[in-house]
Symmetry: C2
Subunit: 270 residues, 2 copies
């Protein structure tokens, strides 16, 4: 056997022997990764393996939930059962459905497919993003809310997954800034502005006296901002940032509105 | 508001204004990411956001499963119930437990904590890794098996998560090579060799006539090999690679055995 013990020579030989049977399936994004140092490459690889085992585990758990929900449904439908038993069966089915929906959101987001633009309703997107963070927000004692839903729907045309990635970065970045603050709060506001629909993430609270270190595995806000700017440009969105008087960041994303008939508003004048 | 529309000037100004309120929590691995081009950084950021929302969703789903299991248990314990109802409740509880265990594995793997070395049993690790891929292996029509378990336990001292990352890369790399082959099969073999315990991933099958493109979102086997070599070096393991006569890769990992008393075998002679 060839030892792959890390010397350049051995590594090169093994790579070439393995490559000879390897389909050329590498996406363009990975070419760049060779620029990374070992620590960074190892961490990126870890994130990549997580995404691989995630889809596997989620599918398996969704199967279990389907069996669970099916059994609960059969219990509910039996005649002459004690109402207390039926209530338990209903609870089980409701929880299974809820869990399955949460997993489906995660799965949809983690799929490595390129999607085409579709009509996205920003209120729906805001709720999805908040649900994806609700447990973590609760643990960090950050209250979260969505405002302006009543003025909706806020329709735009975009690749949903990319827009969700952008919104999650706005959320995660805001969370990182106000983590540990007293009265920490994040509000996702929805509104119209001219021919745009606007989604805004405002973070507030009272800064802690001591600056707390960010969570382990942090991505880095400067890099997040680079990604945000890039995603916004790809989505035809305008990303605005300011520090509010309350001390927290306020990040707004303006996208061309689409009317109910499916027409995108004319290009905004800037 | 400051527009973050991607021009260097705007970007720089916004980054600095945001940075002023940002705790210096960035891990060393992210410093390198600034080397990446926009496409690669965007993809790495996507993987990072997936890991962030994963832990959130998994916690929420585990809560739902706990409620489900608890209700099923209460149903089971009721006296005088129809055995058919009890069986359904047992099925529900068993599925909830199974799903919860699968999620716990995923969660443990995705946690961004640095861990200290611990005693790891390779047979247990092999089963965990295969479970994390079982659904995907089934879909790709790759059969999988573990051999040599009866000769265990195969104890070594290592950071479990790093070792699992390495093993998952062996698996994922092997899968990528034989995907689409007829009779595709992966065997994880366990054995002793001198003072080492060895875990080997052998892939076999009949190559398809047409080379199929790798799955979307592929990491790239050359980069995976770089990560593997690095992880092996960190773990004090020796990684060996050969192409078997059957055409598939055979990847073996040798680690210093630890006896039941907790003593690591003397350093191997090489």
């Amino acid at each position: 056997m060839n030892r792959l013990d890390g010397t350049e020579h051995e590594r090169a030989r093994n790579v070439s022997s393995w490559r000879s049977v390897t389909p050329p399936g590498r996406g363009p994004w990975t070419a760049d990764l060779s620029l990374l140092g070992d620590n960074a490459l190892e961490e990126v690889n870890r994130l990549w393996t997580i995404a691989q085992v995630l889809s596997n585990t989620v599918h398996a758990v969704k199967n279990s939930l389907q069996v669970t929900g099916g059994n609960a449904e059969l219990l509910e439908s039996r005649e002459g059962l004690d109402p207390a038993i039926i209530r338990r069966a209903q609870t089980i089915r409701a929880q299974a459905t809820r869990a399955s929906d949460a997993l489906e959101s995660l799965l949809a987001y983690s799929r490595p497919v390129s999607e085409s633009p579709d009509v996205v309703e920003l209120g729906d997107l805001a709720r999805t993003a908040l649900e994806m963070r609700s447990h973590s927000l609760g643990r960090a004692r950050i209250t979260a809310d969505v405002t302006g839903v009543e003025g909706g729907p806020y329709l735009t045309r975009a690749r949903r997954r990319d827009l969700l990635q952008l919104l999650l970065n706005l959320l995660l970045g805001s969370e990182a800034v106000i983590a540990g603050w007293s009265g920490a709060k994040i509000v996702i506001g929805l509104r119209r502005r001219g021919s745009d629909v606007v989604i805004e993430v405002s973070a507030s609270g009272s800064p802690a006296s001591a600056v707390t270190a960010g969570p382990a595995g942090e991505f880095g806000l400067d890099l997040q901002q680079r990604v945000m700017a890039r995603l916004a440009a790809e989505l035809g969105a305008v990303l605005e940032c300011e520090l509010s008087r309350e001390g927290g960041p306020k990040l707004a994303l303006a996208l061309p509105a689409q009317d109910a008939a499916g027409n995108v508003a004319p290009a905004r004048s800037s």
